[in-house]
Symmetry: C2
Subunit: 320 residues, 2 copies
């Protein structure tokens, strides 16, 4: 089958081995997939991943032992836990130490004609929801996770650092939940686009300190240092940035600031899909406004180049 494969470098292959059935797992024909910052980091060597890239998708179940799934249009939780450890039993499969992660860790991803995921990871997409919306379930879940992990006062002053894909979606989810958040970015075009679709934003350098909550979606450890400058004493920083190229920043003096100002830092990664699907179904998020380009899988290399262009927001792959 055709697939975008990371093997030292990113390759578009037409002869990648077909997905084989496995007990408890369904085979899904991919309809649409999204390229995210983590994919770009993986392609640069983060986590030394080898295999098919991609973890944001909507697809159709073509083979499953679960009759309720066969033929259904689905999205899928990307972490597949062992099912036996304490974390899995506590419904925290996404922290299972033995987990595989779609397109990130030990499991081929969704930038391919077909993928395989455990039956229990798959959620049916409402019939009325377009593929172009459902494909945003994973990043919307990651943004919803912010509100699951923190208790933010209704009138809190909130900044989202980073005008990229995740920053934009985080700001949208906050707005949909009646929080007023401002995006602080570096890219005039993206900030203008966000303003067009009703997301307040401006240059990060213009943000004023004293904020109640700062959400770092920059994808760089410099964002963390900036968040510490911007948050008020006793305020909260939500860290969403995973990054490979973070090795050179000395953050030790910032630890002192965290203690002296009694700041809380909350690491936040993946979220649950069910509330994210509900949020998308509510129609409160205009996620399709974030789509900068759609490429066929065959043009995956060009799609990656477009996703790496800082003037673009979301780049999708559409499979025929």
């Amino acid at each position: 089958m055709r697939a975008l494969v990371l093997d030292g470098q990113l390759k578009s292959q037409s002869d990648y081995p077909d997905v084989e059935p496995r007990p408890g797992e369904s085979i899904v024909k991919v309809l649409m997939a999204g390229i995210c910052g983590t994919d770009l980091e993986l392609a640069r060597g983060y986590m030394t991943y080898r295999g098919v890239l991609g973890h944001e998708f909507v697809g159709e179940v073509v083979e499953s032992a679960d009759a309720r799934l066969t033929g259904r249009r689905v999205v899928g939780e990307i972490n597949a836990g062992c099912g036996h450890c304490d974390l899995c039993l506590a419904a925290m499969e996404r922290h299972c130490p033995h987990r595989t992660v779609l397109g990130i860790l030990g499991r081929d991803g969704c930038f391919a004609e077909y993928l395989r995921l455990p039956d229990r990871n798959l959620l049916a997409v409402p019939g009325t929801m377009a593929d172009e919306v459902a494909v945003f379930t994973e990043p919307v879940a990651a943004a919803c996770e912010i509100l699951e992990q923190t208790r933010i006062a209704r009138n809190a002053t909130i900044a989202v650092l980073g005008d990229g894909r995740l920053g934009a979606i985080a700001a949208m989810v906050l707005k949909a939940n009646d929080y007023a958040a401002v995006v602080g970015g570096h890219h005039h075009e993206k900030l203008a686009r966000l303003n067009e679709i009703g997301i307040a934003g401006g240059f990060e350098a213009d943000l004023r300190p004293g904020l109640d909550v700062v959400i770092d979606c920059t994808g760089a450890s410099a964002g963390f240092a900036r968040a510490i400058e911007l948050v008020r004493p006793r305020g909260t920083i939500v860290l969403k940035s995973t990054a490979a190229a973070a090795a050179s920043l000395n953050l030790a003096p910032r630890l002192n600031d965290i203690v002296v100002n009694e700041i809380s830092v909350v690491g936040s990664r993946c979220g649950r899909f069910a509330p994210a699907l509900d949020t998308l179904a509510s129609g409160k998020l205009d996620v399709t406004a974030l789509i900068s380009a759609v490429y066929p899988l065959e043009d995956g290399i060009a799609a990656f180049a477009a996703a790496a262009d800082p003037s673009n927001l979301k780049v999708l792959l559409k499979l025929s």
Copy 2:
């Protein structure tokens, strides 16, 4: 008057200028004072402080416009806010951006015959409480702050990193509040002393990962890196370490662990004195068991050397 003064280096002076009255502030004759890790850091250059050192004390009010205070034995909150800003008005004077801090920031400290603090900072000590107990109010408040800032499950697995003064007091406060905490340290003598007084502890290298809560009282940024290794996914790290000599550790890769494992990090510094005095009055903490030595103020330089000796716990100064 006699004072231990930091002026590039630590000096014992007998001719330090007397404390002058100031409106809204009381003059306190110091009875007993404690040397803490922050004092040792300040003497090494942290925060470039100049003046009389010391912030842990019990004393007697000898001059005050507040008749209820005159002649009373008191302890005192060390942060003096401006009284006008949003943080002061929200009872968070200890985060006032214009604050002075006794013996730490812009205000002479308690390693002297007399000190001055705002009337509102002073709390009367119960008549039945010995000076040797009351002098622990400040570090006990800092330890109580951990439980004010976090919500720890009753059956949580908790490690305190650092077998020094603050680590020991944190473990005592947790125990007094019915939490089971284990101290992880490096010093055989101190760990043995803690075990004698009923605090569980052992070598930090023997701690096993997967802990619900890790409290870093090491005074070094390496403690933070170790805490990240030890805490479970979705667990909590409480950071109590402020340190000058933290500049060389690269923590950026650890940020990635915080995000991937969705760890919460809570910076924690000073606490409120009233609940700390109540805790001491309850008799649940055997703080005097932590006293390694008592020196007269005249021997302050020797007292500092004793406090810096890693085999010692608390070193006190007693004024005649």
